[in-house]
């Protein structure tokens, strides 16, 4: 980050020189074309700080992560990771061997994350879309409600999630107080929410609470682009409000949904903060999301080699899903355009 100020001043000088040559080239009466103002070194110089940092914070660590995944990297080799014994694909074999504890746990965590992500993204999308559609029209208090709906989005994760952790406490939490003491559901015995199978639902609740405002924001923005005449024409033709929503509003959100769902998927699948604040370093098995699982495999059991192999596998999975999703959705769009 110290490289940033150091590399900025040199940018100016070649930039000016560049202007001179471009002006000379343009002189024979060629009008400047947008996007082709000048070529040469200037764009690269502008990019230089970003390129250096990208190299430092993304490309080198990724390359290292891949190298690390082929080594037996435990706490004994932390001081000099390159001295760790090379083990080839052993870490990968260990990670995917579902007949042994490590692979079995990873598979369990992966499946939990898939189910969790599916439910969370679905609910976030549903709530966000419904709220945006309902708030498309002006009514009293709309601005206030909109600001209020964005609060979960604005609150720092740990402050919000720690409050949920308090609400899910077995003996002094709000959830059990309401469910058991006030509504009389589930008997008098208080439920554990942060341990055992119920932890999945606790995590899902928090994740949806935190995630849906983003869907709301994006869908709301998309709805603003729908021309009002469409609704007026539909209303004059006798279409009721529900028909208008079904025929005009929802189809118009289609294109945005593709990006929205992909972003929500990636965020939820990669989320570390929510389970970590809710459960701590090791989550209950029912809510053991993949990020936490890799963290635990690396920093709690101190096996960085296996953790790296798991990270690389996770990355491959995400790349595959993203590529497949983009291919499907763009092809769908192209087909629709062709028709």
């Amino acid at each position: 980050m110290t490289s940033a100020p150091a590399t900025l001043p040199p940018d100016t000088a070649p930039g000016r020189r560049q202007r001179g040559t471009a002006a000379r080239v343009r002189r024979p009466g060629r009008p400047p074309r947008p996007g082709r103002l000048r070529r040469g070194a200037l764009p690269y110089l502008l990019l230089l700080p970003a390129l250096l940092l990208e190299l430092l914070i993304h490309l080198v660590p990724m390359a290292m992560g891949i190298l690390m995944s082929f080594r037996e990297l435990t706490q004994f080799h932390i001081r000099d990771w390159s001295s760790a014994p090379w083990t080839g694909f052993d870490n990968y074999a260990l990670a995917v061997d579902v007949n042994r504890p490590v692979g079995e746990a990873l598979l369990g965590s992966f499946l939990t994350t898939c189910l969790f992500t599916l439910l969370s993204v679905g609910l976030c999308w549903l709530l966000g879309t419904a709220a945006a559609v309902f708030m498309q029209e002006t009514f009293r208090g709309r601005g206030l409600l909109r600001a209020l709906f964005l609060v979960p989005y604005a609150l720092p994760v740990y402050a919000a999630v720690i409050t949920w952790a308090f609400m899910f406490q077995r003996d002094n939490g709000l959830v059990n107080h309401v469910l058991h003491d006030q509504l009389g559901l589930g008997g008098a015995e208080h439920t554990f929410w942060l341990l055992g199978d119920n932890s999945f639902w606790a995590l899902l609740t928090v994740s949806v609470w935190k995630g849906w405002p983003f869907a709301f924001l994006i869908v709301m923005a998309a709805l603003q682009n729908i021309p009002k005449d469409l609704y007026e024409a539909a209303a004059l033709d006798g279409a009721g409000i529900w028909q208008q929503i079904r025929r005009i509003t929802l189809p118009s959100v289609g294109a945005v949904n593709q990006v929205l769902i992909l972003v929500l998927f990636l965020w939820t699948f990669n989320d570390f903060n929510t389970p970590f604040v809710l459960f701590g370093k090791s989550a209950p098995e029912a809510a053991d999301l993949i990020s936490i699982h890799i963290y635990q495999s690396s920093f709690v059991t101190w096996n960085f080699g296996t953790g790296s192999a798991m990270s690389v596998l996770l990355l491959l999975f995400l790349l595959l899903v993203t590529a497949g999703y983009l291919l499907l959705t763009t092809r769908g769009r192209r087909d629709a355009d062709a028709r």
Partner: protein
């Protein structure tokens, strides 16, 4: 209520629609506000009250937790650490991203597509992927050169750039694209250099976008937990990790946790609500396009 001039349809929505809307939005508002209510009321409760069964209404109001939070853990120190780390990460990523986004938005050059695809894809990678190697790089640099990156604020700032830089570049490209090219072309015709055009025309025209990106970068850095929990030590700990200090072996000071949560939330929530317009426009401009 008189029909507003922006009324969507000439016909008012039927009663059934309004009832369903009211019910749905009320329930949703309740869901959203529930933790906020708990946070605010519990932060004003005496310890006996939060240690026992949950009460909707505090038995007695006290400001005690707001005084105690500063002593139970060195909250002020964590606050300053968070401020420095989040602030520096924001400034670095926005400054560097402005130049990069300008290059991508205004020039054609070899490798442009590769650059944008790399930036976009690193944005979707999980933080845990970078955590392990960065941790080891920092430890190794510390061992071989004596430069203590691991545990330092500088090291933490560097790791925060892994998510704030790609995001900033990506959003700013969209913003700069929306500034008409005629404007900076006119400026170059008038004798501005390319950087003159950037500073005098493009940046001023894109101020809302730059503000939005900065606010968002700050918010994410302020709320970051993963890197903060691994890459900090006693002196550099940020709020994300420091808040755990309110639970001891014997007691969990829930009222103080809630008070501290509220205090650390106020800067970002206030900033968010103040700049909401820009932020919302900025976030959605990228996604809706």
């Amino acid at each position: 209520m008189p029909a507003s001039p922006r009324a969507r349809s000439p016909l008012d929505p039927p009663r059934s629609f309004r009832v369903i809307r009211a019910v749905f939005l009320t329930l949703l508002a309740g869901f959203v506000l529930l933790p906020v209510y708990v946070m605010v009321t519990s932060s004003l409760k005496p310890l006996e009250d939060v240690a026992g069964e949950f009460r909707w209404i505090p038995s007695g109001l006290t400001l005690r937790p707001y005084i105690d939070i500063w002593h139970t853990v060195p909250l002020a120190k964590y606050f300053v650490n968070s401020l420095i780390v989040a602030g520096a990460a924001t400034v670095c990523s926005v400054v560097i991203a402005v130049f990069a986004a300008y290059a991508v938005s205004r020039y054609r050059f070899r490798g442009k597509r590769l650059f944008t695809v790399t930036v976009l894809s690193t944005q979707m990678f999980p933080g845990i992927l970078f955590l392990l190697p960065l941790f080891l790089i920092f430890v190794n640099i510390g061992n071989s050169t004596g430069v203590a990156l691991y545990g330092s604020r500088g090291g933490l700032i560097l790791t925060y750039l892994t998510f704030s830089l790609p995001f900033s570049i990506w959003m700013l490209i969209g913003y700069f694209d929306s500034v008409p090219r005629d404007l900076d072309e006119a400026a170059t015709v008038d004798g501005c250099g390319p950087l003159g055009a950037l500073f005098r025309v493009v940046i001023p025209a894109a101020v809302p976008g730059i503000v939005a990106v900065a606010v968002y970068a700050f918010m994410t850095a302020w709320g970051e937990v993963l890197f903060a929990s691994v890459m900090t030590n006693d002196t550099t700990r940020t709020l994300a990790v420091g808040l755990q200090g309110y639970s001891t072996q014997n007691d969990v000071y829930w009222n103080q946790i809630m008070a501290a949560s509220l205090v650390v939330s106020i800067p970002v929530v206030a900033g968010f609500l103040l700049l909401q317009k820009y932020l919302v426009a900025g976030l959605t401009a990228g996604a809706v396009k």
